[in-house]
């Protein structure tokens, strides 16, 4: 298990134990992070699993990948560190990761 903390838009934090090998989105949904809608089930085609990676962690999670660009652009969300959580795989290197979530995905 990998310890990850989600911080909601109102500042409350929700620590979860994420399963290695799953996506960050799947781990969030499985642990009841309700703001992660993931309408398309993890295919980078709805933009409703957006998270903001804490600046200290961006080098580890990496930049927005090519498959994410279209839906992030379409969402109009320009927040620094924005990623689609369905495209981030949980690995031991993410132990202690901090991500913020938007108020809503729409």
């Amino acid at each position: 298990m990998v310890a990850i903390t989600f911080i909601a838009a109102d500042g409350t934090d929700q620590p979860i134990d994420a399963e290695e090998g799953l996506s960050l989105m799947e781990s969030a949904v499985g642990n009841g992070i309700e703001v992660i809608e993931a309408q398309c089930g993890g295919n980078a085609y709805c933009g409703t699993c957006r998270v903001y990676i804490d600046p200290a962690w961006r080098a580890v999670t990496g930049d927005v990948t090519e498959v994410e660009v279209a839906m992030i652009e379409v969402s109009g969300d320009m927040t620094p560190g924005v990623r689609l959580s369905c495209q981030i795989t949980v690995t031991p290197s993410l132990e202690g990761l901090i991500v913020r979530t938007p108020m809503s995905q729409s």
Partner: protein
């Protein structure tokens, strides 16, 4: 082929599916294809970068001319780029800010028509909704009337789904298709293309114009959207209405619940009665999954959406029972595999769910609304899916 779910002890094995019998009797995977039905395996195959579209029409597509075929048949980078170019048309924000207005306007017309006539065939009403919404996304908005557009699209799609085994039959079918496609080009697509050459808009045809698609390419792309978006949604709306007419408690919940609950009901109906039953994929290279090699190079798999949607490993117990709380409980996507998965997953899924919700919410609030004739369920061999015909709804006159 049919899934073998255990009998549910708590509910005497209730089976709420309406299309299971006809599917079991008619489903015909492509010859030589191996049927795969476990949810996890279906998902892994659909998400693999090693698989390609397969099945009757995919095998006929000439991949050396990507500008002349729909992106439905493409794979890899080119496919991703073409999808990305129109992604905005299907985004949740676009549905709220643009498509919802089209859905509301069309529903106003449908309600007015039904109230003035007193009764109407349900699939005619659902077809109007499906066509209007898809036409706006595609950019087919310069036809003489939306009713004529709907009839011409239907004429082409009905024939292209037809089949004849004799040489004369085939020749006649081809000639008829050409005539109908010609009418569609002349009255619908060509005026839309001309209008967009002068004033580009945000729709599929504007994109095709910008990218210099050939006439053939444009026709193929628009008709693919027609088949993928219009025919499927027509059946989905009627299937949902049939379930709701049949189950007063479910209808009550639909009418009193919030939008999220309404979507949960619709998705659960689609899980049980998926419009698309089979997806075919060919392995271009061995497909590795979490449990080892899943497909050998060259192998074709027929992925059974019906089996995947009722796989107890992801649905939990009583997989044939209509339970709108299931997906949330199981932390699953509500429609399960009904919109496919992976790079080809249906881009119009949320559009279809929204238009169906709006259609049914308005229809079932009409005074005196009733189903005066149940639909007959028939099987479309070409698309390997059910069609619901002959349902008639009536309401109190205006």
């Amino acid at each position: 082929m049919s899934a073998t779910a255990s009998v549910c002890p708590a509910h005497q094995g209730r089976d709420d599916r309406k299309s299971a019998q006809i599917a079991a009797a008619n489903l015909a995977p492509q010859e030589g294809a191996r049927v795969v039905g476990a949810f996890a395996s279906v998902r892994e195959i659909l998400r693999s970068t090693q698989v390609r579209q397969a099945g009757a029409s995919a095998d006929q597509a000439d991949l050396s001319k990507p500008g002349e075929i729909s992106f439905f048949f493409l794979d890899g980078d080119l496919h991703r780029k073409r999808r990305a170019a129109v992604a905005g048309l299907f985004a949740p924000k676009t549905i709220v800010t643009r498509h919802q207005a089209v859905m509301d306007r069309t529903m106003d017309e449908i309600i007015a028509k039904l109230r003035s006539r007193g009764s109407a065939p349900l699939d005619e009403l659902s077809w109007q909704m499906a066509v209007d919404v898809a036409a706006d996304i595609i950019g087919l908005t310069d036809s003489d009337s939306s009713e004529n557009l709907a009839n011409r699209v239907k004429a082409v799609l009905d024939l292209s789904m037809g089949r004849s085994d004799s040489w004369l039959g085939k020749a006649l079918l081809t000639a008829k298709i050409m005539i109908r496609v010609g009418a569609f080009w002349k009255h619908d697509l060509s005026p839309a293309v001309e209008a967009r050459r002068k004033h580009p808009k945000n729709d599929v045809i504007s994109h095709l114009v910008k990218e210099n698609y050939s006439k053939k390419g444009m026709i193929m792309e628009c008709l693919s959207y027609g088949g993928a978006g219009m025919m499927t949604t027509r059946e989905f709306i009627v299937m949902c209405a049939w379930h709701l007419f049949d189950d007063p408690a479910l209808l009550e919940r639909f009418l009193t619940g919030g939008e999220d609950d309404q979507f949960a009901i619709l998705e659960e109906i689609l899980r049980l009665d998926p419009v698309v039953s089979l997806l075919h994929r060919r392995a271009a290279a061995p497909v590795e999954g979490s449990a080892g090699v899943m497909m050998q190079e060259g192998e074709v798999a027929a992925l059974s959406i019906r089996d995947a949607n009722t796989d107890e490993a992801t649905t939990g117990p009583c997989p044939y029972e209509l339970d709108p709380d299931r997906a949330k409980r199981m932390k699953a996507v509500g429609a399960y595999m009904s919109f496919g998965d992976g790079p080809h997953r249906c881009p119009g899924a949320q559009v279809a769910l929204h238009e169906t919700r709006i259609f049914l919410d308005r229809l079932f609030r009409l005074p005196g609304i009733r189903l005066v004739c149940e639909p007959t369920i028939i099987w479309n061999r070409q698309i390997q899916g059910y069609e619901l015909r002959g349902a008639v709804v009536a309401c109190d006159p205006a």
